[in-house]
Symmetry: C2
Subunit: 294 residues, 2 copies
């Protein structure tokens, strides 16, 4: 059995199990690092003897470089109190188990690859659109990490100020994609949350157009076999057909792949694991850590 933590900015989801069929989870509100991490450890302690490893899929930025002295830390987050917190180290020291550690979106991508909407794919993008916009990618079967880890939500896309005078909500970049199309951006622009935008509201088409611009850029950069979209904003299901249509318009036939041009309904899909992608992905991280420890 494995332990799994989806460490989010508002809640920690902790679970034990082996997969979607038997995973039992609890939720812990994210308060101070000490209180939150202690509550997570308390959840796992009774299961300690059954567990082979614990996986953590964490909000970030995080340090994923195994040779770094801050490996396993949450690093430069603006979240009060959570800057430079040794999340993986605290769990490992208390429970003395191998720890798998990655970003929340990389974890969710792994979960979708194992049990969700990206099974058998070697190259795909998992994108979450909620409080922030984040992406986890597999390329050639490997999770993309690179120098730090991707921060996909912060790409720049065209912003027609005449059509959308909203300046963007990203404290670092203003009108990057996250600044234009995250949940808080929708709330700030329209005074209503993304999932509550009513039928016919102009915010739905605008949101779809920004997300499609992001997807077009990732299609050109990563050439994914599929894009899996989750997060609170994507619970507004009307977005999916609009995004697909706008993506095709933007690509304009240049990427001559039938998987895109003729099967866009299977190319842009909702997360198969819904809101459990992250914690199930953490379970995959635990499995990997156990294997690496063998």
């Amino acid at each position: 059995m494995f332990g799994a933590i989806e460490a989010g900015g508002t809640k920690f989801v902790c679970g034990v199990g082996t997969g979607p069929g038997d995973l039992e989870t609890i939720q812990i509100p994210t308060t101070s690092p000490a209180a939150t991490i202690d509550a997570a450890i308390d959840f796992f302690r009774p299961h300690r003897s059954e567990l082979c490893a614990i996986g953590i899929a964490s909000f970030g930025p995080v340090d994923l470089r195994v040779d770094s002295w801050t490996y396993g830390y949450i690093t430069s987050t603006p979240k009060p109190g959570w800057r430079n917190v040794d999340l993986a180290g605290a769990i490992r020291k208390s429970l003395d188990l191998p720890i798998g550690f990655d970003t929340d979106v990389n974890g969710a991508a792994l979960g979708e690859a194992r049990w969700g909407a990206a099974r058998k794919l070697t190259d795909f993008l998992y994108l979450t659109v909620g409080t922030g916009i984040g992406g986890g990618a597999l390329a050639e079967g490997q999770v993309v990490h690179g120098l730090i880890h991707p921060e996909m939500g912060h790409i720049r896309v065209p912003h027609d100020h005449a059509n959308d005078p909203f300046e963007g909500s990203c404290p670092f970049h203003g009108d990057c994609l996250e600044g234009l199309a995250s949940g808080p951006a929708i709330q700030a622009r329209w005074g209503v949350s993304g999932r509550d935008l009513p039928i016919g509201h102009p915010g739905i088409a605008l949101e779809a157009s920004y997300l499609a611009l992001g997807l077009a850029n990732w299609v050109c950069t990563l050439s994914p076999q599929r894009i899996v979209m989750g997060g609170g904003v994507m619970q507004q299901e009307r977005l999916f057909p609009l995004i697909r249509q706008e993506l095709l318009r933007l690509l304009n036939g240049y990427i001559a792949a039938r998987e895109i041009t003729e099967c866009v309904d299977q190319f842009i899909v909702p997360a198969g694991l819904g809101s459990r992608a992250g914690v199930l992905g953490a379970l995959v991280l635990a499995e990997q850590a156990a294997k690496a420890n063998d």
Copy 2:
């Protein structure tokens, strides 16, 4: 010994050798497929018995799926006469050698990784800015291919029409990055080529600002350890400091990696192999094909 072909839209560079020290090349103007490919075969034929394999780094789009019946073809190119040309097959059939085949930019990325400015890196981007804009990426040590292959030049970036009324030169997308910042775009906008823009010409800063937008998006998407830039436009060396400065301004400290924030001169660098990156990359493709054939 290996054979190498950099198959470009204006010339084929063919070579035999084992690396930068002994590679001997010739150039063949790209005319009709039959004449060009026959000339390449004629170059290799006297070396046939010494060669273990031939690598081809080709302009595209190309079909890289080994299980496809058009594997090794140049596919949907707008170049007259070259649509659906079985480039790899023609070379293989005539010379009866294992063939390595990839895009020109993926080849150049492999060349830079082996002998150039990206040695020992597992995650980097090679970008060429010339007749078109193209990128080849390594992620976790693997060349990124995905569904088809990346077409990085076609990402959308902000375009301030008030500051730059040029509509863009891409026949598919108008003002995608390639449409705004490729060599032909510079020529169409200013009536002068990128490398000939004189000191103080506003086109230099504008070009740097577009390229920096592209790089910012790729930094956020791929988290490269380095970005290597080649191609005719990048022979305008004044671009490098402007691009670096603008990239730092765009990222605004969000990607908290000292490799970027403190060492941007080593983060954005010119191609180490210059114009030989492609043909040397084809040599790496040949090596890989020989190994796969063993």
